[in-house]
Subunit: 667 residues, 2 copies
C-alpha cells in the first residue's frame, strides 16, 4: 500500500485494547490474572461477524477465547483472558465471518414466516456440512452437527422441526466451542509479558537495618549501629504481621565528605551516621556492605532468615555516589566533569548537594551500563530478587529498559519497584520500560473524588503496564493528612492502600503512628535517614509499658484478610460504588476462584476528623449478584455481620472504625 | 529487546498525535492546511528538554517546526504544521536535550545569586562554542553566538553583563531558528497524505439529470425524460448559487425486472422510469449511459459545460446490479449463487428486494476488483475526478482500500465521497481506508448539545483521517426536523452545514423547501428516485409566479461568504463558545492568511419554532484576541454591524433570522 498503509483484513478489527504505546511495549499480567481484551470488530453488509482472542504461550501453544459483542452499535467486542505460565506470550484478535450465525438469523425469520423454507434448509445443509468438515480431525464428538444436516435434508419433516434440530443447544454449543470461522482476519501479534504473582501482589515493610538493634549509651549518648544480624531479629515480628517483602534502605558504605547531619543539617556532628543514600567510601561502593552492618556472610544470613520467615528481601538501588565512592577514581567517566575540571555534585540551583555526585550515563553509555549490571549481579548472587530503585527518573529511561531486560534474561523472576515521584509521563514510561511496580501519587490522594479518579486510572488502561504500590508514608514523605489525622488516619490509610491495590507498603514505625514532622517539611522529624532510631519494639509487647499503643495487630489483621481473599490479589477488578456522603468511599473487588466467588467490599470514611453517617448504594451486578439480592455483610476487622441489600446505612469515623472491610456472603 | 519491545530513545517521545490506527493508516491534510502535532516529550533529571516536528516532503526535503511546551506537568508539546504540496509526506517528532536552555536556566539563577560566576561563564563558553560549530556551514549569520562566547571569556567584565550578552535576543533568536540539539531522539516516521483542497473544502449540489428538462405531456400525462443536454442547461443556475461540485445520481441503464414503481411500490406502472440505483439492462451496465439520457458525447458535453461554469462533476458509484445487468451473464461470479442455483437478490429477511442483486467480492476477489477498476476507468477517461459512492459499507473495506489506492496511482487528484450511513466503526474505517470525504450523521444532529459534541469529534482527532460532508437532506433523507421546521429550518440547516464544516451539500429542490414526506417515512413524498420531477425553476425567476419563494439567493449568499472567508475552508479550527440559552449554538473559525486574521463567528438558534433572546460569551483568546477586546461584528447575511465584546446580546428565530454569520473586524 502507498505510504506504508497496512491493508485492512477481510473482516476489519481495530482499536485493540490493551495496547501499550501502540504495541511498542508489551502488555503485562501475572500468572492466572484475568484481563479483558477489547476490539472493534465489524464487517460490510448484514452477515454475522464474530471474533476470537488468541493467546500464544511461549512454547507456541495457542489458547482461543471466544469474544462477546458488548455494544452492537459501537461494534465493541471483548473477552476475559488469562495466561497460565510466566514468560513472553503474544495476543491477537481475529475477526471472522460467521456463516452459521448468518444462516440461523435468516432461517429463523424466513422459516418462521413460511418463506423459502426448502431453500433455507438447503442453505443450512451447506453450512452444516462445512461446519462438520471443519471439526473433523479435532478430538470432539461432532455427531450432533451431522445429525442436524441429515435432518435438514429430510424433506418429509416440517421445516420448523428441521430448523429446531439445526439450532439445538448441542449444535450451538459445538459452535461456541469450535466455530466454523470464515475469512479469519488476525491483527498483528502483540507482546504479553507474564510475570510471577509477586510482581502484582504483596505487602512490603521498609526498614533501616542499622536502626534495628542500634543502641544508645545512656551515659555517653553515643550510638552503636545495628547490624544485619541484629536487624534479622526484627524479621519474625515483621513476618508475624504477615508482610511478604522486607525492603532495606541502602546497606553500602556511606561517604564522609559533606556528610549530612541530623535533620538534614549541612554539617554532621561526630557520630552522625550519614544518609545511606550518600553511597561509597574507602570501604567500597554499591557492591559493598557498610562495615557497621557486617559482612556478606551476615547479609546471606539475613536473606536466609527472611526466607525462613516467609519474607523476600528487596534491596534499595540508589545510583548516585558520595565524593568518597571508589568510582570517582576507578570510573571517572561515570560522572560529569565541569568546565573547571571538578566533578559536578547534585544541584537544584541555587541549592547544592555537595554530598552527592549524580551518575552520568552519556560519557560512556556501554561502560556505565556494564558497571551497573556488574553491581546488580553481586546482589543477585547473594539471593536478592527484588530491587527498589531510588529516583529512577533521574537516569535515562533507555538505561532502565536495557538493565531490566538484561537481568531478566537469566533472572526472569526479578522484580523492580520504581520510586518515580515525578511527572506522570515519566512514571508511566518507566513502567512501560520494564519496572514491575511503581510507587504512585497515593500519599497525596486523600479526598474521595481523588481516590476514585486515581483508582479508575490505575485499574483501567494503565493496569496493562503499570502496577501500583501504595505507600501511606515513606521515610521521605509525611503528608499533613498523616501529621494531623491521628490514629484514625493511620488505620485508614494503611487499610485503604492494602485493599484498593494488590501491592502496598509501610515504613517501619508506621505501627507507632510516628506523626511528628520536621517543622516546615512534609517528612519525619529526626528523620531516620540521618540518624539511628531505636524504636524499642519490646515496650509494645503485652504487659509492657506501651502495650496496646501499636497498630501491629491491626496491620496483621489487614494482611491476614489480604491473604485469605484472592479478590484482593488483583487490581483490574476494582469497582467503585455510590455513597451519598462526599467523604464515604466505597469500592469492591470480586474474583472467582475454582467456581467460587470471592467479593470484598470496602466502605471508608476518608475524613479522619468526623464520624459520618450515610447511605451507600451498591452496584450488585458488578459484584456478580442480581440487583435485588440480599447478602450477609461480614465485617472482617470487627467480626460483625449485617443483612445488606443494594442500599445500606453506614456509620464510620474517629469514634468507631474508619473503614469497613466486608466479606460478601451470598445467601 | 525481548518480546519485540521497541527501545526507548535517549529522550523519550510518546503519544504522538495525530496517529491514525497507531500509524497503520496515513494521517491526511490538504495543501496548506494547518494542523497540530502533539507529543509527550520528557527526560530524566533537571536538564532542559525540547522537541521538533519534522515533515518530510515527497522529494525528501525536510521541514522543521519547533515545538512548544503546552503543559509542563503533563509533558505536552505541540507544533502547528502544514505541508505545501500534494503527495505522500511523512511526519515525525524528535525529542532532544537542550544544553543552551539548561545553561541559561542555571546561569541566570546562579549568577543572579552571585554563585559560581566564573564557572558558569566557563560552562557557557563550552555550550556556545558547540552552538557556533553546529550552525557553521548553514547559510546563517551566526556571529552573535561567537560574540557572546567571546564576551563570556572576558573575565574583566562583570558576570551579569557577560550573561546578558549570551542570552541576548539575537542569540535566543538563533537558538529558536537553528537550535543546538543533543541526543536527538526521533519517533518512527508516520505517513501523511496531502491531497488537493477540494478533498476538504467544497459546496455540492445533487441532481437527478433525468429530471432536468423532463416534460409531462399535459394531455396524455406521459413523461419525456430529461437528457444530459437538457440537464446541462441547469448548470449555470447551480453555478450562479456558487456551488463547486455537481453530483449526478447514477446515469446508467435501469433494469426492468421487478422495477419499483412510484413511491417505492412493488409494481411499476408503464412509463415509470425506475430507480437509477437498479443498474443494468440490455443497454449496458456501470460502463454505459442510459439511452434516455444520451450518449458519451452528451456526457462529455455535460462535463465540459460544468467545467465552463466552474463546476466539477461527481458521479454516483452504486455497486449493485439489476437482474438485467450484463454482468449476470458475463460475470456470474460477481454474484452469490444460492443452494437452489438461483442468484441471490438483496434481502433483509423477511423483506426481499428482488430488483437488486448485491455484488459478491469473495468468489473471485481479483476478478471482481479488476472489473470494478475497469468500470471506473471508463469514467476517468471521460473526465470524472470525483466519485460519490453509494452504500460503501455493503462492500469489503479492503476492496475500497485497494480501489482508491489503485486509482490514485495514476489519478492522485481523484476524490471519493463515502455514503456510509451506518455504524461509527465502519464510517471511520472507510475514511481510514482512503475515502477523502464522508457523509456523516449531521442530518440527525439537531440539538445544540448534539452539534457541539459531534463538531468536537469531527474537528478533533477524527479530522486527521475523516473529512465530513454535511447534508441537511438527501434524496433518501427528510428528517422530521425538516418536515416540520418550516423555512426557518431550511435556512438554518444549510447555513449551519456550510459554516460548521468545509464541505456540505444540498439535494436539488432544497431551494424550494420540499418538506412533504411520504407518510410514515423519513423521505420525500413522490421520491424522485422512482419518477421524474419537473421543478419548473423558471417560475421562481424575478417577476414570475413564485418569485421570492426560493432559497436560491440565500444559498448563493452563504456560498459567497464561504468563498470570501478562508477560515471556512478548514475544519480543525472549529471552536465552540458559550451561550446561556440551551438552543443557541455559537462557534467560530479563525485562520491567518498572509499575516491577516480571518475570523467567522456563527450564532444560531437551533429551535426553528421560537425566537430566543440570550447572551453569548465569547472565548476571545480562541479567536486570537485579548479577553478585553472590542470588535465590530459584521453580520454577513443582513449586512448589519454591532460593537461587540466578550459578552453580547442576541435575538434569533423564526420572526427574524435563525442564524448570524459574523465577520469579526478587529479595531
Amino acid at each position: 500500500m502507498p505510504g506504508g498503509a497496512v491493508p485492512f483484513g477481510r473482516i476489519p478489527v481495530m482499536g485493540v485494547r490493551p495496547l501499550v504505546d501502540c504495541g511498542a511495549r508489551p502488555a503485562k499480567s501475572v500468572v492466572g490474572e484475568e484481563f479483558v481484551v477489547r476490539a472493534k470488530v465489524f464487517r460490510e453488509g448484514h452477515d454475522a461477524v464474530n471474533a476470537t482472542t488468541v493467546l500464544t504461550a511461549p512454547d507456541g501453544t495457542e489458547h482461543y477465547f471466544g469474544m462477546h459483542c458488548d455494544n452492537v452499535g459501537l461494534s465493541e467486542w471483548s473477552a476475559t483472558v488469562s495466561a497460565g505460565s510466566e514468560g513472553w506470550w503474544t495476543y491477537r484478535v481475529e475477526g471472522w465471518s460467521d456463516p452459521y450465525a448468518t444462516w440461523v438469523h435468516d432461517a429463523e425469520i424466513k422459516i418462521g414466516a413460511g418463506i423459502d423454507e426448502e431453500l433455507m434448509c438447503a442453505e443450512g445443509v451447506k453450512v452444516l456440512d462445512r461446519f462438520a468438515s471443519s471439526v473433523r480431525g479435532l478430538d470432539i464428538d461432532a455427531s450432533a452437527i451431522e445429525h442436524a444436516a441429515d435432518a435438514l435434508r429430510d424433506t418429509s419433516r416440517p421445516a420448523a422441526d428441521r430448523l429446531a434440530l439445526a439450532t439445538s443447544a448441542d449444535v450451538r454449543g459445538l459452535h461456541s466451542l469450535v466455530p466454523l470461522r470464515e475469512f479469519v482476519s488476525p491483527t498483528p501479534r502483540y507482546s504479553l509479558l507474564v510475570e510471577r504473582e509477586r510482581a502484582l501482589y504483596g505487602a512490603w515493610y521498609e526498614m533501616f537495618p542499622r536502626s534495628e538493634g542500634a543502641w544508645r549509651d545512656p551515659e555517653t549518648g553515643a550510638w552503636t549501629s545495628g547490624t544485619l544480624r541484629t536487624a534479622a531479629r526484627r524479621l519474625p515480628g515483621i513476618a508475624d504481621m504477615l508482610f511478604d517483602v522486607v525492603y532495606l534502605t541502602p546497606i553500602h558504605p556511606i561517604g564522609t565528605t559533606a556528610r549530612k547531619g541530623r535533620n538534614n543539617t549541612l554539617v554532621a556532628q561526630p557520630g552522625d551516621p550519614g544518609s545511606p543514600y550518600a553511597i561509597g567510601s574507602p570501604d567500597g561502593g554499591h557492591d559493598a556492605i557498610h562495615p557497621d552492618l557486617g559482612t556478606f556472610e551476615d547479609f546471606d544470613y539475613f536473606v536466609a532468615t527472611a526466607r525462613h520467615n516467609g519474607l523476600e528481601v528487596a534491596l534499595d538501588i540508589a545510583l548516585q555516589a558520595s565524593p568518597d565512592h571508589p568510582w570517582v577514581k576507578t570510573h571517572p567517566e561515570l560522572f560529569t566533569t565541569r568546565a573547571d575540571g571538578s566533578i559536578a555534585y547534585a544541584e537544584n540551583p541555587p541549592k547544592k548537594y555537595q554530598d552527592i555526585y549524580p551518575l552520568n550515563f552519556d560519557n560512556d553509555p556501554a561502560g556505565a551500563y556494564a558497571e551497573v549490571r556488574r553491581v546488580i549481579q553481586v546482589w543477585l548472587d547473594h539471593g536478592v530478587r527484588i530491587f527498589r530503585v531510588d529516583n529512577p527518573h533521574t537516569k535515562p529511561v533507555a538505561f532502565w529498559q536495557w538493565l531490566i531486560a538484561d537481568v531478566a534474561k537469566d533472572y526472569p523472576e526479578v522484580i523492580w519497584l520504581s520510586e518515580a515521584f515525578t511527572k506522570p509521563a515519566m512514571m508511566h514510561a518507566l513502567a512501560m520500560a520494564g519496572f514491575q511496580q511503581s510507587y504512585t501519587y497515593y500519599a497525596w490522594r486523600n479526598a474521595k473524588w481523588e481516590l476514585e479518579e486515581y483508582g479508575r486510572e490505575l485499574a483501567g488502561d494503565a493496569a496493562a503496564y503499570m502496577r501500583p504500590s501504595f505507600w501511606p508514608t515513606t521515610h521521605d514523605i509525611l503528608t499533613p493528612y498523616m501529621q494531623f489525622g491521628g490514629p484514625t488516619a493511620w488505620k485508614l490509610r494503611a487499610a485503604l492502600a492494602a485493599t484498593m491495590v494488590p501491592t502496598y507498603g509501610i515504613y517501619a514505625g508506621y505501627e507507632l503512628m510516628e506523626d511528628v514532622a520536621r517543622p516546615g517539611a512534609e517528612e519525619q522529624a529526626d528523620n531516620e535517614k540521618y540518624e539511628y532510631k531505636d524504636r524499642q519494639w519490646y515496650l509494645y509487647e503485652p504487659g509492657r509499658a506501651r502495650s496496646g499503643q501499636s497498630l501491629a495487630g491491626y496491620l496483621r489483621r489487614i494482611n491476614e484478610i489480604r491473604r485469605e481473599h484472592p479478590a484482593l490479589h488483583w487490581l483490574r477488578n476494582l469497582v467503585f460504588h455510590h455513597a451519598d456522603d462526599e467523604n464515604i468511599l466505597v469500592f469492591s473487588k470480586t474474583r472467582v476462584v475454582d467456581g467460587a466467588r470471592d467479593t470484598i467490599l470496602v466502605v471508608a470514611n476518608v475524613d479522619p476528623h468526623s464520624t459520618r453517617e450515610t447511605f451507600v448504594r451498591l452496584d450488585l451486578e458488578a459484584m456478580g449478584m442480581a440487583t435485588w439480592s440480599a447478602f450477609t455483610a461480614h465485617e472482617l476487622i470487627t467480626d460483625q455481620s449485617w443483612e445488606w441489600r443494594a442500599d445500606n446505612f453506614v456509620r464510620l469515623g474517629p469514634d468507631a472504625e474508619p473503614i469497613h472491610i466486608i466479606h460478601v456472603r451470598s445467601h
